[in-house]
Assembly symmetry: C2
Homo-oligomer: 362 residues x 2
Amino acid sequence: MKLTTMQLRDLAIGAAFLGTGGGGDPYIGRLMVQACLDAGLEVEIIDPAELADDATVIPTAMMGATTVLVEKPPSGEEAVAALRRLEQRIGRRADATMPIEIGGINSTIPLLVGALLGLPVVDADGMGRAFPQLEMETFGVYGISGSPMAITNEHGDCVLIEAVNNRQMEWLARGVTMRMGGCAYIAEYSMTGAEVKRTAIPHTLTLAIRIGEVIRQAKANQEPPIEALLRFLPSTLYKFGRAIFAGKIIDVHRETKAGFAVGRARIEASHPSSAIMEIEIQNEYLVARVGGKVRAIVPDLICILDSESADPITTENLRYGQRVTVVAVSVPEIIRSPAALAVFGPACFGLAEPFTPIETIV
Amino acid sequence: MKLTTMQLRDLAIGAAFLGTGGGGDPYIGRLMVQACLDAGLEVEIIDPAELADDATVIPTAMMGATTVLVEKPPSGEEAVAALRRLEQRIGRRADATMPIEIGGINSTIPLLVGALLGLPVVDADGMGRAFPQLEMETFGVYGISGSPMAITNEHGDCVLIEAVNNRQMEWLARGVTMRMGGCAYIAEYSMTGAEVKRTAIPHTLTLAIRIGEVIRQAKANQEPPIEALLRFLPSTLYKFGRAIFAGKIIDVHRETKAGFAVGRARIEASHPSSAIMEIEIQNEYLVARVGGKVRAIVPDLICILDSESADPITTENLRYGQRVTVVAVSVPEIIRSPAALAVFGPACFGLAEPFTPIETIV
């Protein structure tokens, strides 16, 4: 399908929702892709099933601090250069690009690359949400090597990483990204069509578009948008969604530790209850607790939404006094397997509690 | 010529002298090369003039903190892997390797590579001394690109840097080296035989061997070794050498700033004089002043030698109470040209004084 301007707007809302507080605001990515559409370029989104098993897919993304990206928006050529360099390295031309991360701004970078190169974008990704590190990909969980990986910047520098494992790739690439000014563009996890079908989370681009659409249409019909969203989710792979808390933000603590945004938000329930939900932040919302008891935990989605508009609130936009609703959503089984939890389950973020599916907790 | 055990010992002394306080102690490098000789491997040193103009030369080195190297000595395969990866990248096999830096431990890494691969080592280098950064090479001064560059570690990770200029290459490679634990192995500045002849400082490996030999023979003959050394220098490209100060170390200040060893040493002249020489350190000895007046300045060599043994004292081995002689030596014209001074002259280290040749100062 060809992406429309309306779908692009919806996508930005849905990708922010799937970002669970992290991944960066897709707004700037939307503007960049919109500029392509305005210039007459097209973004073709294809179903993973349409890929030939021996097709070559090269995912593209930005890496680093989205706060930096906002100050120096990319031309798009940076990510194109990363893809081209990786093509040269692997000796094959890309038949398509793909997001590595559907949550946040990285949902839009492959659209930009696809528009500029006339390359289709696969409707799938490797996180199904946002995660802070490159090894936290279902691609890697199910055996795809992230290396070789190309990293580029706006000056024309290129770094190729050939690491012994995906954790080490992340470690080296993070160092390079910091030296490139905190924000760089990457191509990695090159794979075949068959490997996409086996390891990617399918239909997450169209899912993000549909989430945005459901919220938009509910508002147009003057229906409560969060309720509309929760009614919609069972028809997707993210089949279980609940509003698990509602109230007012009464405290936000944030700091930057070793390159991560780390902190905690406290939400006081609306009158007459005085319960308090505490949400731990490490780039994304990791765990929500009430009275010390887990109410939702990574990798299930924890989304803080404006109670009125259903606008997703990212960690950097949390403010005292905001009226919010916390929505927890089950993730697809491919993100919950023991192999997946070993890479991005609670223990990977230093949490003591085991993963418990939201539908079990509720 | 085939390197002998005796020449290797002499080289370690001469390379420490040419390190002007930096570049790391060649001792551990000597042990690694000696192990190769003991195992029956050979190190063939060839004159640059022996290179065919279209020969491919790939210099090899270690990068980072020699203090780390001492704690995890390389197997030699790390630098071999860097050379092999760069061969693959440029699509040519190396006909020889070469030091990028004759001062300190990097005089020995190419010998290790040469021994392991049966590859000749060119008797030349790109610094003619030690410098802290990769862009500070006569190769770069005279138009050779340091990129593409390969960086390896002991785990088998490899990073290829393709930077827009040599300064940026240094910046990115330094970040990677830090992530690799502070010490890594590199291949860079690949060039032709004709380019070696045009841009390298010739005969510095044999110069280092001869310096060590002159000191050793003087000691064997119970002659003052520093005097013997100063008598020898005029027969080399480093033609002007003087003992510019002698006395006792009375103060050493050292700290690590942004990855560099920065500091100052003060030497009090021997009785009856009470003059004090102050030497500024940034990895190497950069400038020597008495009463605020420059007595020697980078890129000329400033070497602090044990007054008795003529053993070169590196910055990290400076101690209160040492009896030392400061020797200043002129460097070849290829290191003193305006183009060269623009890359590693006094201003590049934040010094206010212009370069003045040691023979003019004296």
